[in-house]
């Protein structure tokens, strides 16, 4: 049979983009058909805004300024952490149902499957952030500085969420089981959000724990947002992440993406083949 009749253009950037677009379309259709997923993702952070903004506000003191201003950046960063579970479950589900086998038996560009998963999962992440922002505004949170720094803060949050989506993809390939992924996702959420300056200044911690928490990317992302949004007071201290949170957050996020993406793509080759 003539080879010319075989479908699928030879590997090219255009082909890879069209594969990614087609698969992203698939995931967006999923989201449209199961809006309850988006709601479920947004629910916890929104509840956090209300609980922290009202309940903790009277107990926690953050020096000068309002606690609800302080905590918003922390809750936004927490939304990034909830992203781990979204892609984790999506990838594990596709692996379990044999869909990834099917895609791999087609001439589909290799990165397209995971890239489309993470790209589409930015939608629930951003919906979640929008809900958190909306409720925050109701509670009295305001962005004090200009439009550009404000957008800079959101760009950093989205980049952090994107890195977490890839962490989710990694988790999904390593553990195929939904309960396990949910369990690990919850652990990541609790450990990384509470061992950070998300909800409370770190000044009360013992020195070693404090520097662990300061280097936690959630802290530097939250601190960056506070600086960019003018939601003082930012933490005080002399360590690098406290003095230059935006720089440290950008570099950490960049490094996470630079490591996670190739590791995931490499694992994808063999993970699907189990």
């Amino acid at each position: 049979m003539s080879t010319a009749s075989a479908p699928g253009a030879p590997s090219s950037l255009g082909g890879a983009l069209s594969d990614t677009a087609a698969l992203t379309g698939r995931h967006l259709r999923h989201l449209r058909r199961t809006p309850e997923k988006i709601i479920a993702v947004a629910l916890t952070p929104v509840a956090m805004v209300v609980i922290l903004g009202y309940l903790f506000a009277s107990v926690v003191s953050v020096g000068a300024g309002e606690y609800h201003d302080y905590v918003m950046a922390g809750v936004f960063a927490q939304v990034g952490l909830t992203c781990v579970g979204i892609t984790g479950l999506g990838v594990a589900g596709d692996l379990g149902k044999g869909l990834i086998d099917r895609f791999r038996s087609l001439p589909v560009a290799r990165p397209a499957v995971l890239v489309s998963h993470t790209a589409a999962d930015l939608v629930p992440a951003m919906c979640s952030m929008a809900a958190v922002g909306g409720v925050g505004l109701l509670v009295g949170w305001r962005v004090e500085r200009g439009v550009l720094p404000a957008l800079g803060g959101f760009a950093l949050l989205i980049a952090f969420a994107y890195a977490m989506l890839w962490l989710g993809a990694l988790l999904g390939m390593l553990m195929r089981n939904a309960e396990a992924i949910n369990g690990i996702g919850a652990l990541v959420l609790v450990v990384f959000s509470f061992l950070s300056s998300s909800f409370m200044p770190l000044s009360g911690l013992p020195a070693w724990l404090r520097s662990v928490a300061e280097w936690n990317p959630v802290s530097s992302v939250a601190e960056s947002c506070r600086v960019l949004w003018g939601n003082a007071p930012a933490s005080t201290g002399s360590s690098l992440p406290v003095e230059h949170p935006v720089l440290v957050a950008s570099v950490t996020i960049g490094a996470m993406i630079a490591v996670l993406v190739p590791v995931c793509l490499r694992l994808f080759r063999t993970a699907a083949a189990r």
Binding site: A6, G8, D101, P107
Partner: protein, 327 residues
């Protein structure tokens, strides 16, 4: 004639399990190879290696002229795979599932859509085409899965237990589909648990056991390999309590053939091996029985079925011999 699928010395281990241990096979273009083997014999592993989903630990394979490890992309452009479990997107409709695959195969929007229509029609899924697959029955999913692997009009088709879970009508439809594809020049490798399926669809059959090829050949060759034909003579039920009719039949038949007849008392049958001179043995047996006045309920020439082949090669006991043990 060209070879569409060729593999030599394929090996694959999972920890301590040797899933494949030196499997070689060759399928000529436009023919069907049936893989038979008990659970865990290595059929799915073989299919997954040939479909580029799994890299072998040793050995090599070429499909449609390309190496599965070094040129997987070229292989993927030319194959269709229906895995052992239907791989369809539950949240999308049947039509959307097919359209998505058409897009991934770069058929172009128009052609992807018309191909989807064609396949929905030939697998009788038009009624359900716009319902989410979540609402499909098991057999409908299976049919959609099979339609999906034909979207690209592949040159080589891998079907892993394609008819498991299908009702008889759908099974017939699938068989028809396979034959149509073969007529178009498509090469098919299918695995199955149903010997009759291999018998009726496959040009050649390969029996797997513990990761190795136990036997290969046409259905007739395999049957011949297992043993010769035999005459099976059944006596009427409850004719006499003492079983003397059976004895009579045995002593009548004993001189007819070189090897002795065997008796199954529970089903009241006598089996007599038939050598090269078929007609002579049949005539002599009939005459000998008539001479003794033995009443016969059934008198038939039997040859080994693929089941016998399968059980003998895989070293499992045939259902017949187990029933003998019980009695």
């Amino acid at each position: 004639m060209e070879i569409a699928i060729q593999a030599t010395g394929l090996g694959k281990r999972y920890g301590q399990t040797r899933a494949l241990d030196g499997v070689g096979l060759e399928v000529r273009t436009g023919t069907v190879l049936g893989l038979l083997g008990h659970n865990g014999a290595g059929k799915t592993t073989t299919v997954r290696i040939l479909a580029t989903l799994l890299e072998p630990d040793s050995g090599s394979a070429r499909v449609a002229g390309f190496d599965v490890v070094r040129e997987p992309r070229e292989v993927r452009r030319r194959i269709g795979l229906a895995g052992q479990y239907a791989a369809v997107d539950e949240l999308l409709t049947g039509r959307e599932n097919l359209a998505l695959l058409g897009t991934l195969l770069k058929l172009g929007r128009r052609r992807a859509r018309s191909r989807a229509e064609e396949l929905l029609a030939s697998f009788e899924l038009e009624q359900a085409a716009d319902r989410p697959v979540r609402t499909y029955s098991g057999g409908m999913r299976r049919r959609l899965d099979l339609a999906a692997c034909l979207i690209s009009s592949p040159q080589v088709l891998f079907l892993d237990e394609p008819t498991t879970g299908l009702d008889p009508a759908s099974r017939m439809a699938l068989w028809r589909m396979v034959r149509e594809q073969v007529e178009l020049g498509v090469t098919v490798l299918l695995t199955t648990q149903y010997l009759e399926e291999a018998d009726s669809l496959a040009d050649r059959i390969m029996v797997f056991g513990s990761g190795q090829v136990l036997a290969e050949g046409t259905a007739d060759e395999l049957k011949r390999k297992v043993g010769q034909e035999w005459l099976e003579i059944s006596l009427p039920e409850g004719g006499d309590a003492t079983g003397s009719a059976l004895d009579q039949a045995v002593s009548a038949l004993a001189p007819v053939s070189a090897s002795a007849p065997t008796v199954d008392a529970s089903s009241r049958t006598v089996a007599l091996p038939v050598g090269a001179d078929r007609t002579g043995t049949i005539a002599a047996s009939a005459a000998a029985l008539e001479a003794r006045g033995v009443e016969v309920a059934d008198f038939a020439l039997r040859r080994p079925s693929l089941d016998d082949v399968f059980f003998q090669l895989t070293g499992e006991q045939t259902p017949v011999s187990t029933s003998e043990e019980k009695s």
